[in-house]
């Protein structure tokens, strides 16, 4: 057993209100720079939708992630030899149009315009070329809240029936906030010819060493989630850093901290690095189970000993025991990985959305009798859609999770209204009263310290003398093309 620690984020999609506050706090801190205007290390997309960059989920376009080849995993895009032969032109790289042309508005004109008959306007200009943009044709959330459904939402590859988003009676949507998943088997790391991308041993955060990166750009397409971006000014790759300067000191990531819906949970998972590869060789519909198998029980003494051997401190082990992430992902099995079939073993998990808790019956939905919850099969968000998004196509796994969420609501509704509680409701869903109350607390009234259990890095135990003077003022050197 090779037990290692990983910082993981869980997103409760039912609670996401699509406000984009997470994206803004991330942008303000990390990517409000030249060359990074178009990057959204954290973005929120409406599902169904084509996302950002457009159609990122379609690996026939960008060739991201891994595929099973006999008894081995290989990158879907290029092996090592072909990578070197394609160094002068990266065939799968997403281009600017796949994201959007970043723009800003000439607010100065509102003050500086000379007196005329009409009110001055702030015209849009490109943040790359500086030229005026007459018609803005795209943005990071162009299809927000199902706008332009026929163009965008109906092209969502997870949809079985495209027409569903055009029929008011059947329409559904929810939001999916996305950051870098800090995968256990990151394809970006494997694709980097410069060996600039690495996974930190202590907390599993995947980072790009800006000194080593030469800008060959294979990572930008190898990441199936399109969460590695190319800075067009500095000529290097950049990505979400899981706010490591904050998590190292025990603070929560900016996106999670600013989350209005309090949908995010951050905590430690212990996993067995030896099981990763074997887990990923399993067929698509068994990958959620494979994910759960890789995650270790932090209460097991054998696991704790193995983790200690890898330098995981007692503070981290305690955090792993209290981890809301462990509870949601493994203990209660509520959170699912985003597109596990890309086989990077993503370490961001999503609790599927139950809402709208309205059933579709016949051609249009009917409100259910007050106090009665619909069965999983008649929910408005089709099971197949959620299964394609979060379970490698396995509907059963998603149905189990939704069943738990419905049972939880039924149980708590009865409890709050002092109605007789049917113990079978929870039992059938695989929960008991203690579990239900714990989940209820995490979902609703759990405070900051319950939702985020982040142990600080203990630098005093990590060879401090060898590393003295290494950090303090950040990067003071110049980047970019020297313009």
């Amino acid at each position: 057993m090779d037990a290692r620690a990983q910082l993981v984020m869980v997103f409760h999609l039912d609670k996401c209100l699509g406000c984009h506050t997470c994206s803004i706090s991330c942008k303000n801190i990390w990517t409000d720079r030249r060359g990074a205007e178009y990057m959204w290390w954290n973005n929120v997309e409406t599902k169904p939708g084509v996302g950002y960059p457009k159609k990122w989920e379609d690996q026939e376009i960008f060739k991201g992630g891994w595929v099973v080849d006999g008894n081995d995993l290989r990158l879907k895009a290029l092996g090592k030899g072909p990578t070197l032969l394609n160094m002068f032109f990266q065939p799968n790289m997403p281009k600017l149009e796949d994201y959007y042309e970043p723009f800003d508005f000439d607010y100065g004109n509102l003050y500086g315009s000379r007196e005329e008959n009409d009110q001055p306007v702030a015209e849009a200009f490109s943040q790359i070329s500086g030229r005026k943009i007459d018609v803005i044709r795209g943005g990071p959330n162009w299809d927000d809240d199902l706008s332009g459904s026929q163009l965008y939402a109906s092209n969502d590859i997870n949809l079985e029936q495209r027409g569903i988003v055009e029929d008011y009676g059947k329409m559904f949507m929810h939001w999916v906030p996305r950051i870098c998943n800090h995968c256990l088997n990151p394809a970006c790391v494997a694709s980097c010819p410069s060996r600039a991308i690495y996974k930190r041993g202590e907390d599993g955060i995947v980072l790009v060493d800006q000194n080593v990166c030469k800008g060959w750009r294979f990572c930008t397409s190898a990441c199936p989630y399109k969460k590695v971006y190319f800075n067009w000014d500095s000529g290097k790759a950049e990505k979400c850093i899981f706010c490591f300067p904050r998590t190292e000191t025990g603070q929560c990531n900016a996106c999670a901290h600013s989350c209005v819906g309090r949908i995010r949970y951050v905590g430690v998972l212990l996993y067995d690095a030896e099981r990763v590869e074997r887990a990923l060789l399993r067929p698509d519909d068994q990958l959620v189970e494979a994910h759960r198998d890789v995650i270790l029980d932090p209460g097991d003494p054998a696991v704790r000993d193995a983790a200690r051997k890898n330098g995981v401190s007692d503070q981290w082990l305690d955090a792993a025991v209290q981890s809301p992430v462990y509870a949601l992902v493994k203990e209660f099995g509520l959170a699912l990985p985003l597109h596990p079939e890309f086989r990077t073993l993503p370490m961001a998990y999503y609790i599927p959305s139950l809402s709208p808790v309205l059933a579709t019956l016949g051609d249009s939905h009917e409100l259910m009798e007050h106090g009665v919850f619909p069965s999983v099969e008649t929910l408005r968000a089709p099971l197949s859609f959620l299964a394609s998004l979060l379970a490698g196509g396995n509907r059963e796994v998603v149905a189990q999770v939704l069943g738990k969420l419905i049972a939880l609501r039924a149980f708590l509704r009865a409890k709050n209204l002092h109605q007789p509680i049917d113990p079978e409701v929870l039992k059938k869903a695989g929960l008991d009263e203690a579990a239900a109350l714990r989940i209820y607390r995490l979902f609703t009234i759990g405070g900051y310290d319950e939702r985020n259990v982040i142990p600080a890095q203990q630098r005093e135990e990590q060879d401090p003398h060898a590393r003295s003077g290494e950090s303090g003022f950040g990067i003071l050197k110049k980047t970019g093309r020297g313009k």
Binding site: G311, I475, G480
Partner: protein, 225 residues
């Protein structure tokens, strides 16, 4: 006088700049060590430009170095007339390929508005120099035949004399002007290399070929390794 400047002063200045500025840049600020790809902003013409340029120029440059470091082997290969003709035509073909690529890269930067903000004076100097270098090379390939052979008796012994710190510009004094310019251009490129994005060619990804796919970095010395 001109010969002394072109073949003694310039080469040593170039080599000195290369030898001292390159490590200085590497150790002082590697944040600017990049090929500064523009594929993200424009990819259609880059495909033709970049591929033609690199696949054309790399074998030709390698052949130049082969001549310098293994002149005897080269000589014995070229003694075979068929091999000579084959090599000459392949070299000329690759040169034309590179020339085409270089022209595409130049035109591309001129006509694409997006590339304005990412094009520096250094890029233009470099492109102009590389165009000049490729054009003179192709010219010699066409009009001064059997260059792969006479190169071994002019430039190669001259390079050896340079590397032994006993420069003998005489080897180069009687060659055609275009050849002199071609040699001088080469030294200019070496001199500019550490100051421009050309530094990207100093990296060959050997580690990538031998490493396991997932790279870890540990802070704590007791863990993982």
């Amino acid at each position: 006088m001109l010969n002394t400047f072109l073949f003694v002063v310039l080469p040593y200045a170039a080599l000195a700049l290369f030898a001292f500025v390159t490590p200085y840049r590497y150790f002082s600020n590697r944040l600017t060590w990049s090929a500064y790809s523009t594929q993200f902003l424009e990819r259609k013409t880059l495909y033709w430009g970049s591929n033609s340029w690199h696949y054309g120029v790399i074998p030709v440059v390698v052949a130049h170095f082969f001549g310098i470091f293994a002149p005897d082997a080269m000589q014995s290969i070229l003694a075979n007339r068929q091999a000579l003709i084959l090599l000459e035509s392949a070299g000329l073909g690759l040169g034309l390929f590179a020339l085409f690529g270089c022209l595409v890269l130049i035109v591309r930067r001129l006509v694409t508005p997006f590339l304005g903000p990412v094009t520096t004076a250094g890029d233009w100097i470099l492109l102009a120099l590389l165009l000049f270098q490729t054009a003179t090379g192709v010219y010699m390939g066409m009009f001064l035949r059997w260059g792969s052979q006479w190169y071994l008796h002019t430039a190669v012994p001259y390079f050896h004399s340079l590397l032994l710190f006993h420069p003998q510009a005489e080897y180069m004094s009687d060659v055609p002007m275009v050849f002199k310019l071609h040699a001088a251009g080469a030294f200019l490129i070496v001199a500019l290399l550490p100051f421009t994005k050309l530094v990207h060619l100093l990296y060959v990804p050997f580690d990538f070929l031998k490493d396991p796919p997932i790279l870890y970095r540990w802070r704590s010395p007791k863990a993982g390794g």
